[in-house]
Symmetry: C2
Subunit: 498 residues, 2 copies
């Protein structure tokens, strides 16, 4: 497995990420074997939470605050789910998973505030770089639209069309949209072919999809995209596709001081021994008003359970009695995205000297989009490239050195020769993580949402569902995970009062 | 004088602002009279700094750090220049002067960090309101462009044209631009007439000018506007008109926790007795390698002087020997803007419930633009309207109750009936402040910049110049003030080594 690596100069880094990998991929097998050798622990609590990401920990936090005894069972040896702080050097981390936060994402912002994690603006000064139709150009990062007026129109018109259609999509039931059946038969590829004609707009649309969903337009239905658009808002603010792709004013506006993973780490710290690591859940049995959750090394009895893992992993848990077929089909139909983050560390963010923001949009992959991931102190300089969808599929087949060369070639073409020699680099391919299987979010193809969507939040006996895919706002984001955890905890508190 | 007031329910507030007024307008006369009755103090220092705003205090801070003895002479009974924290209620302030900060404004951000003042994002969720061509519409605050494609084009094209022309304008010498003579004969009004034709674009251009400069397009030359565009960047990032008008990603992106005035207050606190309040400078004499600065109540001898007050006030100081005619013409030719901030306090920011950002753009004045000025805690709700240029001229002639009615009518048309009854309100008209005379910045009309601009930063003997109007980046902003103070301090340190 090669989900992450560092070049020779940063061995501690390599150990750091490999440790993470062992707890992920390899952990799928090892702890089970080890557990078999010793007697399983037993616990009895009010609520078991499966998964120690943002969703599960938020639910546990809320339940604990309400005086309930909880037990969070986490497969890995760390909390944080799809967020991961990677140590770059003493006092410096870089996020190799989810990292951004923006306006209307008020639940994750409230959680961050509650545990004392501040935000700072994503670097957005100067010009972005655009490589399209064979030409490299610069355009101001604000307003962040392409320099070509025809292109501006195409982008803003598409955003406007998505927003207008999304108005008819209920955030909690996209399958009830008047045109749900039609939209769930239409792929985004078809929509693109029918609606975009400006030269280069197809390439731009593809790479936007790859960065946003870790998938190609052909893999996603229009309904899914509109549901995603509708949920890019909150109770007060209608969803807006523009927020998904915008840096300032949008979902990439800010970052968390010290890294996003600090939030779940701090929540878990307060929950103390109520969080159990290296305890992947294998089986959930229910009957006679009780639930028994079997994990490696531990069996926990509870009155209610919240499953707060990605759908693809929830589908791996054995349920007794069995999950309804429709629910299982839904879980299996939500495909995790393929999105690799490849990061390079330099002495300083040299591109800033040239008035460049570190944001690139390019028809040439594998790293079709990049961001400046430098810490708030301004040193060292860190750049990352997103490699998504088909690009990620091809990329994963290359050797480590070929991958490195391919991304650095991109970086050099965007930011000049100085980009060729980072002092360290590392990458994270979440599809290789047994306890995640893909990033940033699970998407759906033809007819999944329309046909099986109604199962999404339906409790199964004493089993409730959380996780960013279940959220009705900011699904696919940390904020959505937090919201889903809050909702599930509320549901469980109600069930416990019965 | 009525530069500020509160309604009857908030008398402490009223006293607060009236106190500020006394130290400003009334202070122009009173301390002089009082001073005549007592013997003047004398002091001898290395450097006198005239003015305790961001520029002067930054210069003093830098000089003190270099081991120099400084004396800041400030006319008012407070520091902070064009920033002012107005106490709304216990623990809550609202800024009635400059408040925003954004990307590339790295000097004021560094200063804020150094004294421990954090930033937070300006509220920008949901939709902005547009009242244009007789119709009220909503459009997403991100990307923040009008909903009409023809309009999008007009706005983006104008920004692009300004940016392209500004590339030929040296930030430290706009009068050296190849087309400086032509551009300084052309008013922005003429440019508007020749370049904008979309229905409503003239009204939009006018109100943008009013909010940005506190002036009408006819009062500003194209050269001045291009110089302003060129300076909207930093050493690494080319100037961009888009930054001037943008909220996220632009100059309105963030706000300072606790209010912008905290920064100068904290700097002044560290300088301690080196800052003298209520000491307006009347006369600066130089000769035999020494400078004598005469202020009300104090005479200070120094080796060098930094004048860090708005040009219009610098022009009031008597210099012996006299300032060169060209320099005096420049100082008198930089006209302070007319920009009134009218603010209303509500129990909560109710407009957010309707998915509104609190940002409005409207052809109907007096408050043609508004912003949500709610503190980071989210309570109370505060809205302010900008009343600028001709609108401000007319507004100032109305009675207090007519002004209140006029702005609240605007607020109601943008945000609904709930806006009609704020629990408190206050306004600030900086043109009525004797020690400011206008906001946000001084602009220039025909031929001033081209003819007298070269005087702008030219030291006059031992007298050096600072203040946001003197800055080569972010002139007109707190950041420019800080930069100008840093540059002037550097100049003085060099002079002292001679």
């Amino acid at each position: 497995m090669e989900e992450a690596w560092s070049d020779a100069r940063l061995n501690t880094t390599r150990r750091g990420l490999l440790a993470g990998a062992a707890a992920g991929g390899a952990g799928a097998l090892l702890p089970a074997t080890a557990a078999a050798k010793r007697r399983k622990r037993h616990r009895k609590v009010d609520v078991v939470v499966v998964g120690g990401g943002f969703a599960g920990l938020t639910a546990a936090r809320k339940l604990a605050a309400a005086g309930k005894e909880v037990c969070v069972l986490e497969a890995r040896d760390r909390v944080g789910g799809r967020t991961l702080n990677h140590k770059v050097q003493k006092g410096v981390i870089a996020e190799v998973g989810g990292e951004y936060v923006g306006p209307t994402q008020d639940r994750v912002l409230a959680l961050a505030k509650a545990v004392g994690v501040d935000i700072f603006p994503t670097y957005n000064d100067g010009d972005n770089v655009l490589l399209l139709n064979g030409a490299l150009s610069r355009y101001p990062a604000t307003p962040g639209l392409s320099p070509d007026p025809a292109f501006q129109d195409a982008i803003l018109t598409s955003i406007g069309q998505f927003n207008a259609m999304a108005e008819d999509v209920p955030v909690d039931a996209p399958w009830k949209a008047p045109k749900a059946a039609e939209w769930d038969k239409t792929s985004l590829e078809t929509w693109k072919q029918q609606n975009l004609s400006v030269t280069g707009s197809h390439a731009l649309f593809d790479l936007a999809c790859e960065a946003l969903y870790g998938a190609e337009p052909r893999e996603i239905t229009l309904l899914y995209n509109l549901a995603y658009t509708a949920t890019a808002g909150n109770e007060k603010t209608p969803g807006n596709f523009g927020l998904l792709v915008a840096t300032p004013g949008g979902a990439q506006e800010s970052r968390f001081v010290g890294g996003s993973q600090r939030i779940p780490q701090l929540v878990a710290k307060r929950l103390g021994s109520q969080v159990i690591l290296k305890a992947p859940v294998r089986r959930i049995e229910q009957g006679h008003g009780r639930v028994t959750v079997h994990a490696d090394g531990i069996v926990v009895e509870a009155r209610e359970v919240i499953v707060a893992v990605p759908p693809v992993l929830a589908a791996q848990i054995k349920f007794a009695p069995k999950l309804p077929q429709a629910h299982l089909k839904l879980l299996k139909g939500i495909t995790p995205g393929k999105l690799i983050k490849w990061e390079a560390v330099y002495d300083r963010p040299f591109w800033r000297d040239a008035g460049l923001s570190g944001q690139a949009v390019s028809e040439v992959g594998p790293a079709n989009t990049t961001f400046d991931n430098t810490p708030p102190s301004g040193s060292p300089g860190i750049l990352f490239g997103f490699v998504g969808g088909d690009q990620a599929r091809k990329f994963a087949k290359l050797s480590r050195s070929a991958r490195r060369k391919a991304v650095l070639d991109n970086f050099v073409s965007y930011y000049g020769a100085e980009a060729a020699n980072p002092k360290a680099s590392f990458e994270m391919d979440w599809t290789q993580e047994a306890w995640t299987k893909g990033c940033p979010v699970g998407h759906t193809g033809t007819n999944v949402l329309h046909r099986y969507g109604p199962q999404l939040r339906k409790p199964f006996g004493h089993v409730h569902w959380a996780g960013t895919e279940v959220a009705t706002y900011w699904s696919g984001y940390m904020d959505g995970a937090v919201r889903s955890g809050e909702v599930a905890a509320g549901e469980v508190l109600k069930a416990l009062r019965r």
